[in-house]
């Protein structure tokens, strides 16, 4: 018998109960156990960025994170990004407009990374965006459009944030 533990995970603001082996990664918990398959498995070795999601607001790789580790933390995945009514997040909308994806497989990771990149203040220039988005490989080669989308979304998001701060 393998050992299982009971976890209660906070994912996209919702509580999920699951019984898994301690060795189950956050990525496999999302995909295999919770049917939250928007988070993608590209390498399962921390080398491609497709599994990027947010833990306590920071972008991390879910393939190198144990599900057990994030109990008590807030996990956000691509499924939690758009509005309940399906309205796209500014970054998603910019990706659509700029055609910043082709096959779509690295895309959720790119978007979660881009949201964080902007929030971190690392979208100040194209060169900065390129560097801070380099942890997300895209084999279709959508990099030009990804940079354009992040730039566009940053311009849309930052003034909005500033307004909120000013208000």
């Amino acid at each position: 018998m393998t050992r299982t533990i009971h976890l209660n995970l906070d994912i996209n603001g919702k509580g999920y109960d699951l019984d898994v082996e301690p060795r189950v990664t956050l990525l496999d918990a999302l995909r295999d156990h919770l049917v939250l398959t928007g988070t993608k498995k590209g390498c399962d070795q921390g080398q491609c960025g497709a599994c990027t999601c947010h833990v306590d607001g920071r972008r991390v790789l879910s393939c190198l994170t144990l599900a057990a580790q994030v109990e008590g933390r807030q996990v956000e995945t691509i499924e939690g990004l758009s509005g309940a009514d399906g309205t796209l997040h500014a970054v998603q909308a910019a990706f659509l407009e700029q055609d910043a994806f082709q096959c779509g497989y690295c895309t959720p990771g790119q978007i979660m990374s881009a949201v964080a990149c902007i929030r971190e203040g690392h979208a100040g220039s194209d060169a900065e965006i390129r560097e801070y988005m380099s942890g997300n490989l895209c084999r279709c080669g959508a990099y030009n459009s990804i940079v354009a989308a992040v730039r566009q979304a940053a311009q849309a998001v930052v003034p909005a944030t500033k307004e909120m701060a000013d208000a």
């Binding site: 393998t2 050992r3 533990i5 082996e21 301690p22 060795r23 990664t25 399962d44 070795q45 921390g46 960025g49 990027t52 920071r58 972008r59 991390v60 790789l61 393939c63 190198l64 994170t65 144990l66 057990a68 580790q69 008590g72 990374s113 964080a116 990149c117 971190e120 690392h122 390129r130 560097e131 801070y132 380099s134 942890g135 997300n136 490989l137």
Partner: protein, 332 residues
């Protein structure tokens, strides 16, 4: 990954007790342990999660030094304004490492403890021989593909290079590793492979890194980290150098210089011969070039990594030029 049990430590003492158990491994950021567990290199019985411990993630800048808690994330250290101001090479070495996501996960303690990227070490299923994994079994890298292996500090038992970036800056600037009960100079913390490549550090059972302390210095304040690699980002170094420089009041003569090397040695490497050759000297191109060649003293290349012998002095020289260049753009 082998099946293991998960223990979330709620105090440091609990963690220390837990890791004394046979087969226990510390889990912090996870970027090394989970990776190696998937490769079959790490096979923990129990994973002791210390990532929720309080009080080990502070960064403090005092008049004498910068102290960093072991659980500080790479990104927090890299972005810390005090560290950027006092020791830019430390911040730069972190920003040039891994990716934004990995830097958000990996802790400083874990970063120091990261294992080699030697492909033979990482593939036990195909290459049973590895003295690091399995003492006495041999070294599969010898006679294999060695483009990314070490040329400094190697032995006939192991060629594996230390992949760290931060560690290069830490060894250059005399960091001290805080193990709680004792403090170990960074250069002494790591062991050369010799005939026991499985022993990489002086850590004793039950010991863990609590934090790091890096003394402030004029050299650290005027420092840079230069990393050379084929890919622009998200790649380990072909060669790297952390260099800090302090000049005499004449603005020309070297009072203090620190040179750390990465990507080329079995442990974070301090190029003291280069430093000694330059202290008291006036920097000019020829002096820098001649001294930089000393970085490769004692280097032993394999068939695929001879280029490092040529590359490293150039990296060192460029980094020295960078820190010796004044604001007007010329050599100081």
């Amino acid at each position: 990954m082998r099946d293991f049990s998960y223990l979330r430590a709620s105090t440091l003492d609990e963690a220390r007790q837990a890791v004394l158990q046979a087969g226990a491994s510390i889990l912090a950021g996870g970027t090394t342990l989970i990776d190696l567990a998937k490769c079959g290199v790490a096979e923990p019985e129990t994973v002791v999660d210390i990532s929720h411990l309080e009080g080990l993630s502070g960064i403090e800048v005092t008049p004498q030094s910068v102290t960093i808690g072991a659980l500080s994330r790479m990104s927090d250290v890299a972005d810390h304004s005090g560290i950027q101001a006092e020791m830019p090479a430390v911040s730069e070495s972190l920003l040039l490492a891994a990716s934004a996501q990995l830097r958000n996960m990996a802790t400083i303690g874990g970063n120091v403890m990261q294992r080699t990227r030697c492909p033979y070490f990482r593939d036990p299923g195909t290459f049973p021989a590895c003295n690091k994994r399995n003492p006495g079994s041999g070294c599969s890298a010898l006679g294999g593909i060695t483009r990314n292996h070490a040329v400094l500090g190697t032995s006939e038992h192991c060629l594996a290079s230390n992949p760290g970036d931060l560690a290069v800056a830490l060894v250059a600037f005399d960091a001290v590793v805080d193990l709680g009960s004792r403090r170990v100079p960074f250069d002494e913390f790591f062991l050369l492979p010799g005939d026991t490549p499985d022993r990489e550090t002086v850590l004793q059972p039950g010991e863990m890194i609590i934090g790091l302390s890096i003394p402030k210095s004029a050299a650290a304040k005027n420092s840079t980290y230069l990393k050379v690699r084929d890919r622009q980002s998200y790649e380990f170094a072909a060669a790297s150098a952390a260099v800090g420089l302090e000049l005499e009041d004449d603005g020309r003569t070297v009072r203090d210089i620190r040179v750390g090397l990465g990507g080329v040695a079995t442990k974070p490497w301090r190029a003291r011969a280069v430093e000694q050759a330059l202290i008291g000297k006036v920097l000019d191109d020829a002096t820098i070039k001649a001294a930089s060649l000393l970085a490769m003293e004692g280097a032993v290349a394999q068939s695929d990594n001879t280029y490092k012998i040529d590359l490293v002095p150039r990296v060192v020289a460029r980094a020295i030029e960078t820190v010796s260049t004044d604001k007007s753009g010329g050599l100081a």
